[in-house]
Amino acid sequence: MHLDVVFSSLRDLITSPMALGLILLAMPIGSFFGIMPGLGGKLGIVLLIPFVFGMDPTLGAVFLLAMHSIVHTGGAIPSILFGVPGTGPDAATIVDGYPMAQKGEGGRALGAMLAASGVGGVIGALFLALMLPVLEPVVLAFGPAEFFVLAIFGITFIATLSGRSLIKGLCVGLLGLMLACVGMDPQTGVARFTFGQLYLWDGVDVVTAVLAIFAVPEMIALGVKGGAVSSAQTAARYGFRDVLAGMVDVARHWGLTIRTSIIGAVVGLIPGLGGDVACWVCYGHAVQTSKTPERFGHGAVEGVIAPETANNSKEGGALLPTLFFGIPGSSGMTVMIGALIMLGIQPGPALMIENLHLVWTLIWTLVIANILCVILLLACAPWFSRLTFMRGSLLIPFVFLMAMVGSYLSQFAWENMILLVGIGALGYLLYKWKWPRPPFVIGLVLGPIAEDSLNKSLALWGPAFLLRPLSLVMIVITIGSVAFYFWRRRRAKVQVAYDH
């Protein structure tokens, strides 16, 4: 391990007032996006993209990652107090967190949640750090053939996991790959699908596409739904002593805390599984390993600890495939890729070789942000929880505006805003009719790499590139993931028939 880089990145981070200031600034912003139901880290990054434009790439990445890494800590507050999940993965926390609040143990549940989130986040970052030396030779073994198969694997794998229909997922992934063909062909110099528009010669802007496919549909949906963001009626109150009791609970269940942190990080490492899976897997683990499983669902503190550790530790795991393969480990990381590209950081194997300092800076950011967040939320949670009553209609125009600013600034092209609206309208149709959207971004990001790798592979080895050992392994995994998808569907159908 490059110890000099490990410690110099930490020293640079904690001695930079700007970096620390940005991490501190990210705390209330991230908590806000977590606490507001339906917003989440993805939208947080979307709204912050214009503000990091032109910023030093490392500082911009630190700011965005710090904000994103603590969103779920904030999101657990409305889950526990009102039974309203701030973000999707926080739903698992409701099962025992909300009954605890109903029993008058809301403070204890919040304390357990805060401590578990902090510990989970730190362990997730340590997991990422420990995996780096293991991953380095793997990344370096990848050639053009492997990268092409990896792109196909990434899209297929995410298509199988991010929605109920494999066909829809594959179509959306292929649409991303197709839009990646827009612009100058790297081989022949022919302008493809540009319709005579000069600004399309550089291709479809990833930032614009990400904003369009995630932010615009969410806001249209919020506008269609109408009303306040939270439907809960009253804010809960709690005392500091109760919160401390919950934190002590985490120490009492230290074995569970460490186990679920590691499980969460491993699940985060697998692209496409996402936070929901990590939280529910860990919740299930807590129930299975408990001597008194009958308490779960009625306010067992372990039912809060397990999903909350996983919720934060998965971000460390998710950063690995995001940074080194350009395949987002979680849905939030999908948007993060767009933001990193805008900052001038190209995710891929070269990052490990050329910019290990940045990688370690991001790892330390995860650690520091998670610790600071726990301290901040201890003091501010009751105040933040009132924000859930903000009307959605107040938010929509600002998100539209920020999406337009972000899309314009990424290339200083006003035409991007037209693209934003066009792809956004399509994105809403995909959202409404349950076509998974993450494969689109993965296709768009991996498209140029896939085309370049395919051309190189065919030139070097011909069609036999598919028979190279690593390619074969990934093809087998891809087929396995499709087979697993069909097995899972068949099992679900059998279960439904049995229940009837």
Binding site: F53, S165, C171, I220, I396, L401
Partner: protein, 146 residues
């Protein structure tokens, strides 16, 4: 007969792939290779999805289109934001659009709408233009007027 949104979405996806493959057929062989590699499976998969959706729509009762008006309303506002910003630029269009949306679409009180508009102007002009010194889009009409 009304085409369900589900079928329309599949048809749009199919049309996008088919259109792009058709356009790609006019490119030299090397340039059209990747669009074909991606587009032809895309056409086939979308066609399968369209057939599945058509079958589904025959079996299931037509879903209520009660949200359509609201969706068109939101899309209209999105287009208004686009037109306003492209034509008049961020600094001028932002306060007007924010006020109009908050007052007339969100039916907020005038005070709230004015505060939102002022906040938007401050963000655009003071934060982006003055503090961060980021050149925002000036708008086609002000540029044309000189």
């Amino acid at each position: 007969m009304t085409i369900s949104g589900r079928v329309a979405t599949s048809a749009i996806m199919l049309a996008i792939f088919a259109g792009m493959v058709a356009i790609a057929s006019g490119y030299p062989p090397q340039a059209r290779f990747m669009p074909y590699v991606v587009g032809i499976p895309g056409v086939l998969l979308c066609a399968v999805q369209l057939v599945l959706d058509l079958r589904e729509s025959r079996r299931a009762a037509a879903a209520g289109e009660s949200t359509l008006r609201r969706e068109l309303f939101m899309l209209g506002w999105l287009l208004a934001f686009l037109a306003g910003i492209v034509l008049f630029g961020f600094v001028y269009a932002t306060p007007v659009l924010l006020f109009a949306f908050l007052r007339y679409a969100a039916r907020e009180r005038t005070k709230v709408a004015l505060a939102g508009a002022a906040g938007g102007f401050v963000m655009m002009y003071l934060v982006f233009v003055e503090m961060l010194e980021i050149p925002l889009h000036d708008g086609l009409i002000p540029a044309w007027l000189g």
